[in-house]
Structure formats: C-alpha cells, structure tokens
Symmetry: C2
Subunit: 232 residues, 2 copies
DNA sequence: CGCAATATTGATTCCGTTCAAGGGTGGTGG
DNA sequence: CCACCACCCTTGAACGGAATCAATATTGCG
C-alpha cells in the first residue's frame, strides 16, 4: 500500500452513490479522501480489524471474504471500480467482519467514517441510496443461502459463471473479464477446489465453456441458465 | 387476516427504530398505520407480490423464507414483536423476494411505503438506525453463507439451536420459547428433515438437549458452542 | 374418532470431499 | 537469460456425510 497524490475526481464521477451529493458536499468529500495504491495480493482490511473509513474503489478489483475456523475462505462479494466497501463496519461502529484483498493492482480512496455518517444524517437521498445498496446485497446474500442449501455444486458453478460474466463482462475474444484461481472460484461456489476443476473440465468437454489457462469463456449460456435454474 | 381497531401504541413503544422519531412524526405514524390480525399459517406476503408498506410486528412470530425451484423453503430470518419486515422491497421499490408467514397468531401493523421513505429522507437518525439494522442482517447472512458452505449439518444444527435460544429465550421450565416443526428447523439449517430428526435424537441420547414433543431444551450449551465453533 | 400432518427409524445410494501423486506455469534472482 | 522454486492445476482412488426412499408410529386437530 502506498499513498498517491490524487485520483481526481474519482468519487463523484465513478460512483453513483456520490452523485446524490451537492457541489459543496462533493468538494468536501474530495478534500477529505485519501488515495492509496494497493498491489495485487495486499490486504486492505482483515476480519476483526478496526477500519477508519469507507473504501471507494477507483481501479482494480477486491475480493471480500470471510475466513472459516479451518482457514478456508468464503468469498461473499467483489468490489470493483465504482463500488464501495467497509461501510457496514463504519455504520455499526464495529470491527470488520470480512477481509478485503486486492486481486488486481488497485487504486482505492478512503473516506473518513464521520464524513459518511454525517452524510447519512444530513442527506436523505444519500441515505436512501445507501440503504438500497445494502438491501440489494442482503437480497443477494439470502438468495445465495437458499442456493447453497438446495442446489448441487454443478448448478452453483453454472450460476457463478453467469454472475461473473454479468459482473465483469467479457473481453474482445469473449473471455470473462476477470482472472480467478480455481481455488477462488471454489471459494465463491462453496466447494472444494478439485470439484471446481473437475466440473470445469466436464463443462469444457460438453462444449459449454472454453478455457485458455485461467481465462474462461461461456459458450452455451442458455444451458448454464437452465442448469442454474435462473430466477429461483 | 382481519383488520382490527388498534394496537395502540404499538410502534413507538415496542420498536426501537421508531424511538428515533419526534412526537409529531410518531403521532403521524400512529395515524397512518393499519393494524391486522393474522392466524397461524397465514401468509402476509409472497415472493413476487407487491407490498404496499412496511410490516411492524406487535405480537406473534413470522418466518421469512425463500422458496427453491423444487418448492423447498429456506428460512432466512424470523420477525417477532418489535421487528419490522418488508422494508427491503419498499426501499428498492421491487417485488418482495421472500415470503412472510405467521407461525403463531400475530398482530401486525402496516405502515405505508411513502411514510417510511419520507422518514428516511427527513430523519437522519431514523435512516442511520435502519441502515444499521440492514447491515446487521447482511452480516448475519454472510456468516451463514460461510457456515453452510464449510460446516457439517451437526455443527449447523448446534448453531441453530443456540440462535433460537438467543432470539426467543426460554420458558420457566427451560424450553426454547419457540415451537417449530422438524421440517422448519431443517429449513433453517439447510438440510433434510430426516437429518434433523436423527441429529436431535443423537443430541438427546448424548444428554446435550432434552425434548418434550416439539419443545426443546438446551442442556449442555458449552458443548453446543464448542461444536458450532462460535465466533467463527 | 378419524384423518392428515408430523415424527421416527432403517436401508440404500450417491454426490462431493479428502488424500495422494504428478505435471504445468510464472515470476524472481543469480 | 534461464534455472529454480513456489504456486497452481489436474486426475485418480477411496471414503463418508447426508440425501433419498420406504415403511411405520405418533400427534393433534376438526
């Protein structure tokens, strides 16, 4: 991690949430923020660590995960350009309950807690927007609880692949615009690494996906959607 | 469901959230609310249904669940006296994504959407309180994702039993202050009904719990805590 | 009292984990 | 520049936890 000059004007231009601010508030935010650069693999915050402000991602991707008692990670979200993270702990004034790790080199601004809390209290639209954001995450989390409890690993993997394409898009050649290790995919799906490897190989043999190293391309999305029982 | 006169003054007295309101706002809320009585087994709202306001539980208990494609329920929360539910859909202006069903006879007030949204916009403390509420739920949901992905059914059942005691307390005789079917317990844990029955019998044989019909009493909480790997 | 819902127990199957061994890849430093 | 090492990927084999199927028993409500 290394502090950098500025990433102007990252906040209001990238992040929808901060579009609810008026000029004065926007400017104050830009003054208060601190920009940092993080190398791939570095940790922004850990479970149990106290964090001093909300993180706003300008560039790069973070994985947000919880660590089980045996050390295995469960990825519960990604944060990419325009996303914010860490606000849960700030609002509850509690220690972080997830770990945030850069899976690409990233530029991230930090906004002090009191600034965020003040905004919630004084800007109704900001509060409402943040609430909606949280509610969406909550709904996704609840959906995933149902999925992980009721679907097979094969179904959840299909769902995860679709989610990754939805979230990160595809390159010109049609590959998912995100590079993950097999282990990380397993930590999203909630299964063993070997199971992911086996199932990806199956998908490839069945021409449902194609692979070039860690790059994945979805070749038969209708099948994946049917398999994942989308919208359930 | 049957409309009733009033449950005065349910809101401000029972619900912490509404304690953030001033007198004027409180009174307005009392005027705007509609009180209903629901028999055990009745549905307040369903997945995909549009709801017109936030539900505030005065008396009784609701289970909040999602339904899988094969019809199996996954319980994601309970709502009891003093809790509110349905606010996610209201705030996002989306159809409900869960079903709420009374598992006891219940008295529930409904507060129109626009009243809630107005409060979020104009009362900073109300917004902040609601945000904290949502964040807590989100954290619980994420924890449960990790648990269901990494723990055994036995461990999750132990955790669920502790959660039920924490949430609903115990009767004078030491039984959990909530009556659930085995199937409902299975739908919390995320497993098959038969597995819950088998494991509860095991727990009884091992003197970890005692049972009288649907009533359950935790006899060896330290063991359950150790088993559930609490705080992980 | 009788029926429907719920609970219980046993037998069997199977999905997914775990353990093990080997091959590939990329990054770093000499 | 390339050799080495750490990390990652892959495949096979065996085990086991939990689901499913099946056959009663019990409960409780109308």
């Amino acid at each position: 991690m290394e502090q950098i000059e500025n990433c102007n004007p990252c906040l209001s231009s990238i992040n929808r949430l901060f579009k609810t601010l008026n000029n004065e508030q926007s400017q104050y935010l830009e003054e208060q923020k601190i920009c940092n650069e993080y190398k791939k693999g570095s940790i922004l915050y850990k479970e149990t660590s106290r964090i001093m402000g909300v993180y706003c991602i300008c560039k790069g991707v973070l994985k947000i995960y919880k660590t089980g008692s045996d050390g295995k990670e469960q990825i519960v979200a990604f944060a990419r350009s325009g996303d914010i993270t860490g606000y849960r702990s700030i609002l509850s004034n509690e220690a972080a309950c997830t770990t945030a790790e850069a899976i690409q080199n990233a530029i991230v601004c930090q906004i002090p807690s009191n600034v965020i809390i003040e905004l919630v209290k004084t800007n109704g639209n900001f509060a409402l927007h943040l609430l909606k954001l949280t509610c969406r995450e909550l709904n996704q989390a609840n959906s995933f609880i149902k999925d992980i409890a009721q679907k097979t690993v094969r179904e959840r993997l299909a769902e995860t692949l679709l989610m990754l394409e939805e979230t990160f898009g595809v390159t010109e050649e049609g590959y998912l615009n995100i590079i993950l290790t097999r282990e990380e995919i397993a930590n999203i799906v909630g299964t063993a690494t070997e199971s992911v490897i086996r199932l990806l190989s199956e998908f490839r043999r069945e021409k449902i996906i194609s692979m070039k190293g860690k790059q994945l391309a979805l070749k038969n999305k209708p099948y994946l959607q049917k398999l994942s029982k989308a919208f359930n």
